[in-house]
Protein backbone atom coordinates (compact mmCIF):
# COMPACT_ATOMS: atom_id res chain seq x y z
CA UNK A 1 0.00 0.00 0.00
CA UNK A 2 1.30 3.43 -0.97
CA UNK A 3 0.31 6.48 1.07
CA UNK A 4 0.96 10.12 0.28
CA UNK A 5 1.07 12.67 3.10
CA UNK A 6 1.25 16.25 1.86
CA UNK A 7 0.70 19.86 2.87
CA UNK A 8 -0.14 21.26 -0.58
CA UNK A 9 -3.86 21.70 0.10
CA UNK A 10 -7.04 19.66 -0.51
CA UNK A 11 -7.13 20.74 -4.16
CA UNK A 12 -4.09 18.54 -4.85
CA UNK A 13 -5.78 15.34 -3.67
CA UNK A 14 -7.30 14.58 -7.08
CA UNK A 15 -3.91 14.87 -8.74
CA UNK A 16 -2.28 12.57 -6.20
CA UNK A 17 -5.07 10.00 -6.29
CA UNK A 18 -3.80 7.95 -9.21
CA UNK A 19 -0.32 7.82 -7.69
CA UNK A 20 -1.25 6.11 -4.43
CA UNK A 21 -3.76 4.05 -2.44
CA UNK A 22 -4.48 6.63 0.27
CA UNK A 23 -3.95 10.35 0.74
CA UNK A 24 -3.47 12.28 3.94
CA UNK A 25 -3.79 16.02 3.46
CA UNK A 26 -2.03 17.89 6.26
CA UNK A 27 -4.03 21.12 6.48
CA UNK A 28 -3.41 21.80 10.16
CA UNK A 29 -7.12 21.68 10.99
CA UNK A 30 -6.70 19.25 13.86
CA UNK A 31 -5.26 19.14 17.35
CA UNK A 32 -1.61 18.42 18.17
CA UNK A 33 -0.53 15.29 20.05
CA UNK A 34 -1.02 15.64 23.83
CA UNK A 35 1.65 13.09 24.78
CA UNK A 36 -0.85 11.00 26.78
CA UNK A 37 0.21 7.60 25.31
CA UNK A 38 -3.44 6.51 25.30
CA UNK A 39 -2.92 5.28 21.72
CA UNK A 40 -0.58 2.71 23.29
CA UNK A 41 -2.11 2.06 26.67
CA UNK A 42 -5.87 2.70 26.46
CA UNK A 43 -7.23 2.51 22.91
CA UNK A 44 -4.53 0.80 20.81
CA UNK A 45 -3.65 2.66 17.59
CA UNK A 46 -6.45 5.17 18.14
CA UNK A 47 -6.21 8.74 19.40
CA UNK A 48 -8.60 9.94 22.11
CA UNK A 49 -8.95 13.27 20.27
CA UNK A 50 -12.05 12.90 18.11
CA UNK A 51 -10.98 14.69 14.94
CA UNK A 52 -9.88 13.61 11.45
CA UNK A 53 -6.63 12.16 12.78
CA UNK A 54 -8.29 9.86 15.31
CA UNK A 55 -7.32 6.77 13.30
CA UNK A 56 -4.26 8.07 11.48
CA UNK A 57 -2.01 5.50 13.20
CA UNK A 58 -4.08 2.72 11.62
CA UNK A 59 -3.82 4.31 8.17
CA UNK A 60 -0.09 5.08 8.23
CA UNK A 61 0.60 1.72 9.84
CA UNK A 62 -0.72 -0.03 6.70
CA UNK A 63 1.81 1.70 4.43
CA UNK A 64 4.37 -0.26 2.51
CA UNK A 65 5.69 3.01 1.10
CA UNK A 66 5.06 6.41 2.66
CA UNK A 67 5.67 9.47 0.49
CA UNK A 68 5.74 12.81 2.32
CA UNK A 69 5.52 16.07 0.40
CA UNK A 70 6.37 18.89 2.79
CA UNK A 71 7.51 22.46 2.96
CA UNK A 72 10.87 22.87 4.68
CA UNK A 73 10.71 24.26 8.19
CA UNK A 74 14.08 24.58 9.98
CA UNK A 75 15.45 21.45 8.32
CA UNK A 76 12.35 19.40 9.11
CA UNK A 77 8.70 18.89 8.24
CA UNK A 78 6.14 21.69 8.13
CA UNK A 79 4.08 22.06 11.30
CA UNK A 80 0.99 20.60 9.57
CA UNK A 81 2.85 17.48 8.36
CA UNK A 82 4.62 17.06 11.69
CA UNK A 83 1.26 17.23 13.42
CA UNK A 84 0.08 14.19 11.44
CA UNK A 85 3.29 12.25 12.16
CA UNK A 86 3.11 13.13 15.88
CA UNK A 87 -0.45 11.80 16.07
CA UNK A 88 0.53 8.50 14.38
CA UNK A 89 2.81 6.97 17.03
CA UNK A 90 0.15 4.33 17.67
CA UNK A 91 1.54 2.57 14.59
CA UNK A 92 4.19 1.28 16.99
CA UNK A 93 3.60 -0.45 20.32
CA UNK A 94 4.65 0.62 23.81
CA UNK A 95 7.20 -2.22 23.94
CA UNK A 96 10.85 -1.45 23.30
CA UNK A 97 13.52 -3.17 21.27
CA UNK A 98 16.89 -2.46 19.68
CA UNK A 99 16.97 -1.28 16.07
CA UNK A 100 20.04 0.24 14.44
CA UNK A 101 21.84 -0.42 17.78
CA UNK A 102 19.49 1.99 19.53
CA UNK A 103 16.33 1.71 21.56
CA UNK A 104 13.09 1.99 19.60
CA UNK A 105 9.50 0.79 19.88
CA UNK A 106 8.38 -2.47 18.33
CA UNK A 107 6.25 -2.19 15.19
CA UNK A 108 2.52 -2.91 15.38
CA UNK A 109 2.32 -3.42 11.61
CA UNK A 110 5.72 -5.00 10.95
CA UNK A 111 8.41 -3.69 8.64
CA UNK A 112 7.74 -1.22 5.84
CA UNK A 113 9.36 -0.40 2.51
CA UNK A 114 10.24 3.14 1.47
CA UNK A 115 10.19 6.36 3.53
CA UNK A 116 10.34 9.03 0.85
CA UNK A 117 10.38 12.77 1.46
CA UNK A 118 9.96 15.47 -1.17
CA UNK A 119 10.92 18.83 0.29
CA UNK A 120 9.94 22.15 -1.26
CA UNK A 121 10.48 25.74 -0.19
CA UNK A 122 13.47 27.85 0.71
CA UNK A 123 16.20 25.70 2.24
CA UNK A 124 19.86 26.17 3.13
CA UNK A 125 22.60 23.59 2.66
CA UNK A 126 22.82 23.11 6.43
CA UNK A 127 19.06 22.48 6.59
CA UNK A 128 19.32 19.94 3.76
CA UNK A 129 21.94 18.04 5.73
CA UNK A 130 19.74 18.11 8.83
CA UNK A 131 16.69 16.98 6.83
CA UNK A 132 18.59 13.94 5.54
CA UNK A 133 19.59 13.07 9.10
CA UNK A 134 16.01 13.51 10.30
CA UNK A 135 14.55 11.32 7.54
CA UNK A 136 17.10 8.60 8.24
CA UNK A 137 16.20 8.75 11.94
CA UNK A 138 12.51 8.45 10.98
CA UNK A 139 13.30 5.46 8.74
CA UNK A 140 14.94 3.58 11.61
CA UNK A 141 12.33 4.63 14.15
CA UNK A 142 9.38 3.57 11.98
CA UNK A 143 10.98 0.37 10.65
CA UNK A 144 11.33 1.28 6.97
CA UNK A 145 13.88 -0.52 4.80
CA UNK A 146 14.88 2.45 2.65
CA UNK A 147 14.88 6.23 2.80
CA UNK A 148 14.98 8.86 0.08
CA UNK A 149 15.01 12.64 0.43
CA UNK A 150 14.73 14.94 -2.56
CA UNK A 151 14.72 18.72 -2.57
CA UNK A 152 12.47 20.47 -5.08
CA UNK A 153 13.16 23.91 -6.47
CA UNK A 154 9.41 24.31 -6.81
CA UNK A 155 6.47 22.47 -5.24
CA UNK A 156 5.12 21.61 -8.73
CA UNK A 157 8.16 19.40 -9.42
CA UNK A 158 6.68 16.56 -7.35
CA UNK A 159 4.88 15.03 -10.34
CA UNK A 160 7.89 13.38 -11.97
CA UNK A 161 9.18 12.13 -8.64
CA UNK A 162 6.23 10.03 -7.46
Amino acid sequence: MRIILHDLGEQMNDRFREKCDAILCADGKYAPCQGCFNCWTKHPAECWIKDRLRQVSRVIGQADDLVIVTKNLYGGYSAAVKNVLDRAIGASTPFSTYRGREMHHTLRYGKHGLWKVLVYGDITEAEKKSFRTLAERNRINHGYARCEVQFLRDASEWEGLL
Binding site: G28, P32, C33, Q34, G35, C36, F37, N38, W40, T41, K42, H43, P44, A45, E46, R52, R54, Q55, S57, R58, V59, G61, Q62, L73, Y74, G75, G76, Y77, S78, A79, A80, K82, N83, L85, D86, A88, I89, G90, T93, P94, F95, S96, T97, E102, M103, H104, T106, R108, Y109, G110, T124, A126, E127, S130, T133, L134, R137, N138, N141
Partner: protein, 248 residues
Protein backbone atom coordinates in the same frame (compact mmCIF):
# COMPACT_ATOMS: atom_id res chain seq x y z
CA UNK B 1 19.59 39.59 33.58
CA UNK B 2 16.18 38.16 32.69
CA UNK B 3 15.88 34.50 31.75
CA UNK B 4 12.60 33.12 30.43
CA UNK B 5 12.00 29.40 30.89
CA UNK B 6 9.43 27.99 28.46
CA UNK B 7 7.84 24.67 29.32
CA UNK B 8 6.77 23.40 25.89
CA UNK B 9 5.25 20.13 27.08
CA UNK B 10 1.60 19.75 26.02
CA UNK B 11 0.86 18.09 29.37
CA UNK B 12 -1.02 20.09 31.99
CA UNK B 13 1.14 18.97 34.92
CA UNK B 14 4.00 16.71 36.00
CA UNK B 15 5.75 16.73 32.63
CA UNK B 16 9.39 15.68 32.32
CA UNK B 17 10.13 19.13 30.86
CA UNK B 18 8.87 20.79 34.05
CA UNK B 19 11.18 18.57 36.13
CA UNK B 20 14.26 19.49 34.09
CA UNK B 21 13.31 23.17 34.15
CA UNK B 22 12.97 23.02 37.94
CA UNK B 23 16.54 21.69 38.15
CA UNK B 24 17.79 24.25 35.61
CA UNK B 25 16.21 27.16 37.50
CA UNK B 26 17.99 26.15 40.71
CA UNK B 27 21.34 26.68 39.00
CA UNK B 28 20.65 29.73 36.85
CA UNK B 29 20.03 32.72 39.14
CA UNK B 30 19.02 36.24 38.08
CA UNK B 31 15.47 37.29 37.30
CA UNK B 32 13.48 34.28 36.18
CA UNK B 33 10.12 33.92 34.46
CA UNK B 34 8.48 30.53 33.88
CA UNK B 35 5.81 30.24 31.19
CA UNK B 36 3.89 27.39 29.59
CA UNK B 37 3.50 26.85 25.87
CA UNK B 38 0.73 24.28 25.43
CA UNK B 39 -1.70 25.80 22.94
CA UNK B 40 -1.94 28.80 20.56
CA UNK B 41 -3.79 30.60 23.36
CA UNK B 42 -0.42 30.79 25.19
CA UNK B 43 1.47 32.42 22.29
CA UNK B 44 0.80 36.07 23.11
CA UNK B 45 1.63 35.64 26.79
CA UNK B 46 4.93 33.91 25.99
CA UNK B 47 5.92 36.42 23.32
CA UNK B 48 5.27 39.29 25.71
CA UNK B 49 7.89 37.85 28.06
CA UNK B 50 10.45 37.45 25.27
CA UNK B 51 10.61 41.09 24.23
CA UNK B 52 13.03 42.05 27.02
CA UNK B 53 14.58 38.64 27.70
CA UNK B 54 18.35 38.21 27.77
CA UNK B 55 18.23 34.42 27.69
CA UNK B 56 15.48 31.92 26.89
CA UNK B 57 15.45 28.22 27.76
CA UNK B 58 13.06 26.08 25.73
CA UNK B 59 12.28 22.71 27.36
CA UNK B 60 10.38 20.18 25.29
CA UNK B 61 9.89 16.48 24.63
CA UNK B 62 11.16 14.84 21.45
CA UNK B 63 8.25 13.90 19.17
CA UNK B 64 8.95 11.60 16.21
CA UNK B 65 12.63 12.59 16.13
CA UNK B 66 11.89 16.31 16.09
CA UNK B 67 10.20 19.36 17.57
CA UNK B 68 6.53 18.81 18.58
CA UNK B 69 4.18 20.33 16.01
CA UNK B 70 2.57 22.77 18.47
CA UNK B 71 6.03 24.24 19.15
CA UNK B 72 6.80 24.52 15.42
CA UNK B 73 3.70 26.68 14.99
CA UNK B 74 4.95 28.98 17.74
CA UNK B 75 8.47 29.17 16.30
CA UNK B 76 7.09 30.28 12.92
CA UNK B 77 5.28 33.16 14.65
CA UNK B 78 8.35 33.96 16.73
CA UNK B 79 10.53 34.10 13.61
CA UNK B 80 8.18 36.72 12.13
CA UNK B 81 8.19 38.69 15.40
CA UNK B 82 11.97 38.56 15.55
CA UNK B 83 12.26 39.98 12.04
CA UNK B 84 9.83 42.80 12.81
CA UNK B 85 11.15 43.76 16.24
CA UNK B 86 14.36 43.90 18.20
CA UNK B 87 14.43 40.48 19.84
CA UNK B 88 17.96 39.81 20.98
CA UNK B 89 17.91 36.91 23.43
CA UNK B 90 20.32 34.00 23.59
CA UNK B 91 18.54 30.70 23.15
CA UNK B 92 19.20 27.47 25.07
CA UNK B 93 17.28 24.20 24.99
CA UNK B 94 16.53 21.16 27.11
CA UNK B 95 15.18 18.27 25.04
CA UNK B 96 14.16 14.93 26.46
CA UNK B 97 13.03 11.69 24.90
CA UNK B 98 11.56 8.43 26.16
CA UNK B 99 14.34 6.30 24.72
CA UNK B 100 17.52 5.95 26.72
CA UNK B 101 19.94 7.55 24.26
CA UNK B 102 20.14 11.31 24.75
CA UNK B 103 21.75 11.60 21.33
CA UNK B 104 18.41 10.78 19.70
CA UNK B 105 17.55 14.44 20.38
CA UNK B 106 20.12 15.60 17.80
CA UNK B 107 17.65 16.40 14.95
CA UNK B 108 15.56 18.51 17.35
CA UNK B 109 18.64 20.47 18.41
CA UNK B 110 19.60 21.07 14.80
CA UNK B 111 16.12 22.39 13.99
CA UNK B 112 16.34 24.89 16.86
CA UNK B 113 19.74 25.98 15.56
CA UNK B 114 18.24 26.55 12.09
CA UNK B 115 15.36 28.47 13.66
CA UNK B 116 17.84 30.81 15.37
CA UNK B 117 19.79 31.30 12.14
CA UNK B 118 16.60 32.34 10.31
CA UNK B 119 15.38 34.52 13.16
CA UNK B 120 18.62 36.37 13.83
CA UNK B 121 18.79 35.00 17.36
CA UNK B 122 21.86 33.57 19.07
CA UNK B 123 21.86 29.79 19.39
CA UNK B 124 23.76 28.77 22.51
CA UNK B 125 23.10 25.02 22.52
CA UNK B 126 21.46 22.77 25.05
CA UNK B 127 21.16 19.44 26.77
CA UNK B 128 19.58 16.36 25.17
CA UNK B 129 18.34 13.88 27.76
CA UNK B 130 17.57 10.19 27.29
CA UNK B 131 15.12 8.41 29.58
CA UNK B 132 13.19 11.60 30.30
CA UNK B 133 9.96 9.87 31.27
CA UNK B 134 11.70 7.58 33.74
CA UNK B 135 13.74 10.43 35.24
CA UNK B 136 10.48 12.27 35.74
CA UNK B 137 9.17 9.24 37.64
CA UNK B 138 12.13 9.53 40.05
CA UNK B 139 10.82 12.83 41.41
CA UNK B 140 7.47 11.20 42.12
CA UNK B 141 9.26 8.32 43.86
CA UNK B 142 11.18 10.87 45.94
CA UNK B 143 7.92 12.42 47.15
CA UNK B 144 6.64 8.91 47.98
CA UNK B 145 9.86 8.28 49.94
CA UNK B 146 9.30 11.46 51.97
CA UNK B 147 5.72 10.42 52.70
CA UNK B 148 6.86 6.97 53.88
CA UNK B 149 9.54 8.55 56.07
CA UNK B 150 7.04 10.92 57.68
CA UNK B 151 4.61 8.05 58.27
CA UNK B 152 7.34 5.99 59.93
CA UNK B 153 8.31 8.94 62.14
CA UNK B 154 4.73 9.45 63.29
CA UNK B 155 4.21 5.73 63.95
CA UNK B 156 7.48 5.48 65.84
CA UNK B 157 6.66 8.50 68.00
CA UNK B 158 3.12 7.20 68.64
CA UNK B 159 4.55 3.92 69.89
CA UNK B 160 6.81 5.75 72.32
CA UNK B 161 9.96 5.34 70.24
CA UNK B 162 12.27 7.91 68.67
CA UNK B 163 10.89 10.61 66.38
CA UNK B 164 13.81 9.78 64.09
CA UNK B 165 13.85 5.97 63.74
CA UNK B 166 17.25 4.93 62.38
CA UNK B 167 15.96 2.22 60.04
CA UNK B 168 13.47 4.56 58.39
CA UNK B 169 16.08 7.31 58.04
CA UNK B 170 18.54 4.87 56.51
CA UNK B 171 15.94 3.55 54.04
CA UNK B 172 15.03 7.10 53.04
CA UNK B 173 18.65 8.22 52.63
CA UNK B 174 19.69 5.20 50.57
CA UNK B 175 16.63 5.50 48.33
CA UNK B 176 17.17 9.26 47.83
CA UNK B 177 20.82 8.68 46.92
CA UNK B 178 19.88 6.06 44.33
CA UNK B 179 17.31 8.44 42.78
CA UNK B 180 19.89 11.23 42.77
CA UNK B 181 22.39 8.92 41.08
CA UNK B 182 19.93 8.26 38.22
CA UNK B 183 19.75 12.05 37.68
CA UNK B 184 23.46 12.82 38.08
CA UNK B 185 24.24 13.18 34.36
CA UNK B 186 21.34 15.58 33.94
CA UNK B 187 22.27 17.61 37.03
CA UNK B 188 25.91 17.81 35.90
CA UNK B 189 25.06 19.30 32.50
CA UNK B 190 22.26 21.56 33.75
CA UNK B 191 24.59 23.05 36.38
CA UNK B 192 27.09 23.78 33.62
CA UNK B 193 24.41 25.21 31.35
CA UNK B 194 23.19 27.41 34.20
CA UNK B 195 26.71 28.77 34.49
CA UNK B 196 26.80 29.47 30.73
CA UNK B 197 23.44 31.29 30.93
CA UNK B 198 24.69 33.48 33.81
CA UNK B 199 27.90 34.31 31.96
CA UNK B 200 26.06 34.88 28.67
CA UNK B 201 28.17 32.37 26.77
CA UNK B 202 27.55 29.46 24.43
CA UNK B 203 27.20 25.97 25.84
CA UNK B 204 27.27 23.67 22.81
CA UNK B 205 25.19 20.52 22.49
CA UNK B 206 25.57 17.95 25.26
CA UNK B 207 23.83 14.61 25.55
CA UNK B 208 23.19 12.59 28.66
CA UNK B 209 20.77 9.97 29.97
CA UNK B 210 19.41 8.23 33.00
CA UNK B 211 22.38 6.43 34.53
CA UNK B 212 21.33 2.79 34.23
CA UNK B 213 22.25 0.13 31.64
CA UNK B 214 19.97 0.21 28.59
CA UNK B 215 18.76 -3.41 28.95
CA UNK B 216 17.62 -2.64 32.51
CA UNK B 217 15.96 0.54 31.25
CA UNK B 218 14.07 -1.39 28.56
CA UNK B 219 12.93 -3.96 31.13
CA UNK B 220 11.58 -1.23 33.43
CA UNK B 221 10.00 0.66 30.51
CA UNK B 222 8.19 -2.51 29.39
CA UNK B 223 6.98 -3.20 32.94
CA UNK B 224 5.85 0.43 33.27
CA UNK B 225 3.81 0.38 30.06
CA UNK B 226 2.38 -3.05 30.87
CA UNK B 227 1.12 -1.88 34.26
CA UNK B 228 -0.30 1.35 32.80
CA UNK B 229 -1.94 -0.58 29.94
CA UNK B 230 -3.58 -2.98 32.39
CA UNK B 231 -4.87 -0.07 34.48
CA UNK B 232 -6.15 1.83 31.44
CA UNK B 233 -7.57 -1.28 29.79
CA UNK B 234 -5.54 -1.25 26.56
CA UNK B 235 -4.35 -4.79 27.25
CA UNK B 236 -7.93 -6.00 26.85
CA UNK B 237 -8.58 -4.08 23.60
CA UNK B 238 -6.13 -5.72 21.22
CA UNK B 239 -3.10 -4.15 22.82
CA UNK B 240 -0.46 -5.15 20.28
CA UNK B 241 -2.74 -6.18 17.39
CA UNK B 242 -2.74 -4.77 13.87
CA UNK B 243 -5.76 -2.51 13.98
CA UNK B 244 -7.71 -1.78 10.81
CA UNK B 245 -9.10 1.73 10.26
CA UNK B 246 -12.79 2.02 11.14
CA UNK B 247 -15.25 4.31 9.43
CA UNK B 248 -15.27 7.63 11.28
Amino acid sequence: MKTVFINCSPKKRLSASSWFLAIQRMFTGGKQVLVKLRTPADHAKVMEQLTDADAVVFAMPLYVDGIPSHVLGFLEKLERLSRETDLHFRMYAIANNGFIEGRQNEPLMRSLEHFCARSGLTWCGGVGIGGGVMLNVTRILFVVDIAILLLNMVLSAAQGGSLFPRDALWDFTSSALILLYFNLGVVFYLVRMGSAIRRGTGFGKKYTRILIPSFVFILFADIFFTVVSVLKGGVFRGWLARKEPENQ
